[in-house]
Symmetry: C2
Subunit: 671 residues, 2 copies
């Protein structure tokens, strides 16, 4: 049994135009099954080990009792699995859960049926209590049990037990109290459970989709570095071997995923120079996103970085350190990419027959040729793009950072991610789409495991609270996994440009505690903060266009913060979840405070958002949040600084000097 | 072309279990189309003349422009109709509307496609403004227009115009400014609009359902009377002719629908006596809901009321007065109903073969045999039930009050209502289900045109505000039309029992202004308020079991209130809608105030909920509600009392003495 993930939108001509109303056969109505994204059009997501909590409204006519269950299956399962659903009178709804135990695509749904045996049992008790004649009811019960015994799935022991009970209920020669006692006992209930007839079962439609990813999709720290910069001199191009040499340090800092910008040959035609200059100097190395040259395209590696074998060695070495290498999947070509000559039909072609470079009129990007993923030969082109992902997956890559996915067809991503995960269900796709919120959300719904976010631009308390509330308290938690990069080669926010080391420390603390997945682009740990020009979010002398040599131990670095934070994250389950965030009231607009709890682990974070000034405030920790009476005291232990305070359920004083520390990362310790 | 209203829930064995992901062909994604009830599982409702406001999220990859439209059709249409959708940048969503022009079942949906011609046109303008070479773009535009001209639906003039424009854009001998001027003009836009190729069109699935009822389904006053009580003496059984004689008065009071409890022969077996006595006296008339006797069943009329012809005459007479007769559809049988003998297989049968009377253990209802609508012969039984409705519809009945529909299968109602409305799209079904809120809602979703409500039990300000907010401000407005009966033969609320005439006047005013459809059970206008016993909501000497003779002009009657209110309702469009309710702040818990507005008609209602005491308060009418600066003055005219006051945007003083009047029904009059 496998699962469908095709678009559910039929062509107009295929729309059902059935004529007559039909006599429905469903005795039970099932409504509002949750979780569900866009009416089941898109799957929800879980990390392996995660739980799916299911809810449903279920009812029928009259007073008869209903039974219901969750049905679910992995795409490879040959039969449905089931999990119980229990009724709660308030809010008149059924609840249950299941825990998928394998990576990949799942389906789940709800089944329900009228339960005449349980109804009979409950009514019999009422009749007995009212002193009514129950003899006919015992015969009615026997009749129902005989029907139940005849079910094809009522195998062996259960069947015989039901027949035995039925015979004893029918034994009019036996004393009525003996028969009643048997009827009212629950020894046979297990055997009698389940639908009496298959046609009694209603199933909610459609079945809902679920994608289970490995745990690292939902909890990880990313680090972006340019391999060519892993060198001691800008005269020597860094290599995969250089990256390998940096692995011990990166592992000690607590990173999980080392993300490399495109590693492919870099185009020479219209190559950009330093600081995005229109003309490159002869020794300029170019932008790695100008992919493809005579040495090859997306399946080749830039010769100066090494060979494909060197890359595979790096992937294996990272694994030794418990880390992995992520690469960039940027579906665009430099003018000298081999595909431009081999497959001009895969590109946009002008009326004069020439291949069209990227444009957003009046802007021109002559160094980039976009692929036309709706070209006449799209089947072959889509296959070729998929094969690139499979090629690198076969070489050990399990995480792809996808460049600008919103500029390629949504249908392409839905297809290609499903295709790749069918072969490699542990592959993680990170969407680098900075576009309108709804398009970003839909990319996640369609299949991206993680997404870049607006986090870098959310620097005020109001903005952070509003954005994090949306990310953590809405339906988005079902499908959207934010990856809070604190900076990227494209985004050096003014807050970091002007806030100095305290700003970098504060944003690190926020990224690492607000989101279970976050990332740093190298240089962050050195507090690099010089923009191309005032008002720009680009870096001066950006690594996108040149080799940047760094002293990784330069004074003022915040590597100790990074290592400590990442260790704390691993040790505290509360920091590994997205949906457990509760903001705490403070009376300062510059101090953000929040709590996160999971499995008895209780974290309180208090951050001074102002990198320039000392702020103090009262932080309100409601007793109800901790299950404590107002005024009850407990210890808070700052996992970053080692400080310890006595706090209470209620208001607590905090003073934060940005030159000293960006905030507190408290664990609550109850005596 | 017709429409499907079958259950969308496939049997488990029919569930799609397709294997491979497929390369989707949809270039545009359409999401979150509204209005939609339960993901399109159920239709929305409108009254004829009402508008459907459609919203949708639509996007594609990249920068290309999108075009979109509403598609909709009546079940009898042979082709789709279209209505425009326009994009609003904030909230990044498309909006449009259509107005269905016929009764019955409709479908609607959203189509969208990439619009390369509009994209080209917009980009050309940018290129011109940037002073770029546009010669190749003119050729590209010509190419697109030639494709557009080849569309099968691009008939006659449009096709020729596009070919002409294309030729002129291609005319390289002509001055470039002439060709640009033509390219940038909009004279040919209309001809070029629409999808370039049919396969470019994405359509949201599923198509959504809409039921259009006649206006009276959404705006009417009901009046329930027992025909047998339309007599001057309890010795003489009232008749249809007696009802006919009351029509002029009922019309003058402003009623639209005269609803008669079951008019069929009343069972003699286990007949209930006065005040629900287990044994009837020989002259007891019995409950009309014990349907069926030797004289016939649901297709017969009780001989003492007259003949079927007399009934038809009454229906016609009512029509003369602009009113209609509603009858009761109670699917249950007295033990002497002909079906019990003719079709014992349609009932529940005990193990001993006897027909089972109604029970809710330990309670027994030996005068009622419920039908087993899931019996083996259900196809025939469902047909027979439908045919009863068709029988009375053929005799002019267009409104059925359905007794206890929640005790019959939900699937039955979905089927039978669709069947009857296919033949008689003007038939209105009123659901008399007092059950858990979700079951009541689903009956409405499945097809009931109107529903009884909890209104009789909502007597405090808090309860009224909460309940009306749910009814008027949530998704319920799409499918649930409340019918606010102020009393019924089963419900005489304690508020009315103890509140005297002021209570009856207050509840009348509330029912008639809060809900566009409301009703009174006869006796209400006489303020009848004696319960069976203290604590009971049943009437003493209930008309359900005996003939009740009344003096319709008894002192203290509130007929003037009724007539005036109903006239005001007809003259003020604001009182004819459900979803236009805004509660106003008052500083008294006993004074409820609200505003309703429609088509420039502005109503403010202020009601003293305490029937025993004078209350005064300030009513806050926010200026923003009226589009007035705070403090601006206007006149309010009490349509019930004729009083006139000067009010302001902001706080206004009100004092209400229940002995004088229950409240104000103001129309705002702007100078």
């Amino acid at each position: 049994m496998t699962t469908t993930y095709v678009s559910t939108s039929p062509r107009p001509s295929e729309l059902p135009r059935v004529s007559l109303a039909v006599k429905g056969t469903e005795r039970v109505v099932i409504e509002s099954v949750t979780p569900s994204v866009d009416c089941g059009r898109y799957p929800i997501k879980r990390a392996l080990g995660g739980r799916v909590d299911v809810g449903a409204d279920i009812f029928k006519d009259g007073h008869d009792l209903i039974s219901a269950r969750i049905v679910y299956c992995h795409a490879d399962d040959r039969a449905d699995r089931v999990a119980p659903l229990e009724f709660e009178f308030n809010p008149d709804r059924w609840f249950g859960s299941f825990r998928p135990d394998a990576l990949g695509r799942w389906q789940y749904g709800v089944e329900a049926w009228p339960d005449p045996i349980r109804t009979w049992s409950v009514e019999l008790r009422k009749r007995v209590e009212a002193g009514q004649d129950t003899a006919p009811e015992l015969l009615e019960g026997a009749r129902l049990l005989r029907i139940a015994s005849a079910r094809p799935d009522g195998g062996g022991g259960a069947r015989q037990q039901l027949l035995d009970v039925a015979a004893r209920l029918e034994a009019t020669s036996a004393p009525i109290y003996e028969r009643l006692s048997l009827a009212l006992s629950d020894v046979w209930h297990e055997s009698a459970s389940g639908p009496l007839r298959p046609e009694d079962v209603a199933r909610f439609a459609p079945m809902l989709g679920l994608v289970v990813d490995r745990e690292e999709a939902a909890f990880a720290v990313w680090y972006e570095l340019f391999p060519r910069s892993q060198t001691a001199s800008s005269k020597r191009h860094g290599t995969f071997a250089d990256v390998e040499r940096r692995l011990p340090e990166l592992a000690s800092l607590g990173f999980d995923v080392i993300y490399l910008p495109p590693i492919h040959p870099i185009g020479r035609d219209h190559r950009k120079g330093k600081n995005n200059a229109l003309k490159a100097a002869p020794d300029d190395v170019g932008s790695p996103w100008a992919i493809g040259a005579r040495e090859g395209g997306h399946a080749a590696v830039h010769p100066e970085l090494g060979t494909v074998d060197d890359f595979v060695r790096l992937v294996r070495a990272a694994k030794e350190f418990g880390m992995e290498i992520a690469i960039d999947f940027a579906l665009q070509c430099a003018p000298d990419h081999p595909w431009v000559k081999e497959h001009p039909e895969w590109f946009f072609v002008r009326v004069d027959g020439s291949v069209r470079y990227a444009e957003n009129p009046p802007k021109k990007y002559e160094d980039i040729y976009p692929l036309n993923l709706w070209c006449a030969d799209r089947e072959a082109l889509w296959d070729a793009c998929r094969d690139l992902l499979l090629y690198w997956a076969a070489r050990g890559v399990r995480s792809f950072r996808v460049d600008n996915p919103h500029t390629k067809p949504l249908a392409f991503w839905e297809w290609v991610i499903a295709e790749v995960q069918r072969a490699y269900p542990d592959v993680v796709f990170l969407s680098e789409a900075f576009t309108r919120p709804k398009r970003m959300k839909t990319l996640s719904k369609l299949g991206f495991s993680q997404s870049y976010t607006y986090f870098t631009w959310k620097n005020t308390k109001e903005d952070l609270v509003e954005y994090l509330t949306e990310l953590t308290q809405t339906e988005m938690t079902e499908y959207f996994r934010p990856n809070f990069f604190a900076n990227t080669p494209d985004i050096l926010h003014e807050y970091l440009q002007t806030g100095g080391r305290p700003a970098f420390r504060a944003r690190l603390l926020l990224a690492g505690t607000l989101a279970p997945v976050y990332g740093l682009y190298s240089g962050y740990e050195l507090c690099e903060h010089t923009p191309l020009h005032p008002g720009s979010e680009e870096y001066l002398n950006s690594e996108k266009y040149q080799i940047v040599v760094r002293d990784w131990n330069a004074p003022g670095n915040i590597k100790q913060d990074v290592a400590r934070l990442n260790r704390i994250r691993r040790e505290n389950p509360a920091l590994q979840r997205l949906d457990n965030l509760t903001f705490l009231e403070t009376d300062s607009d510059e101090i953000l405070a929040f709590a996160k709890r999971a499995y008895g682990n209780e974290i309180i974070v208090v951050v001074n958002l102002d990198p320039h000034r000392v702020h103090e405030t009262m932080v309100d920790v409601p007793g109800v949040l901790l299950g404590l009476e107002p005024g009850s005291v407990y210890q808070v232990f700052d996992l970053m600084s080692g400080e310890r305070y006595q706090w209470q359920a209620g208001e607590n004083y905090v003073r934060l000097d940005p030159l000293e520390k960006p905030g507190h990362l408290f664990r609550i310790e109850r005596s």
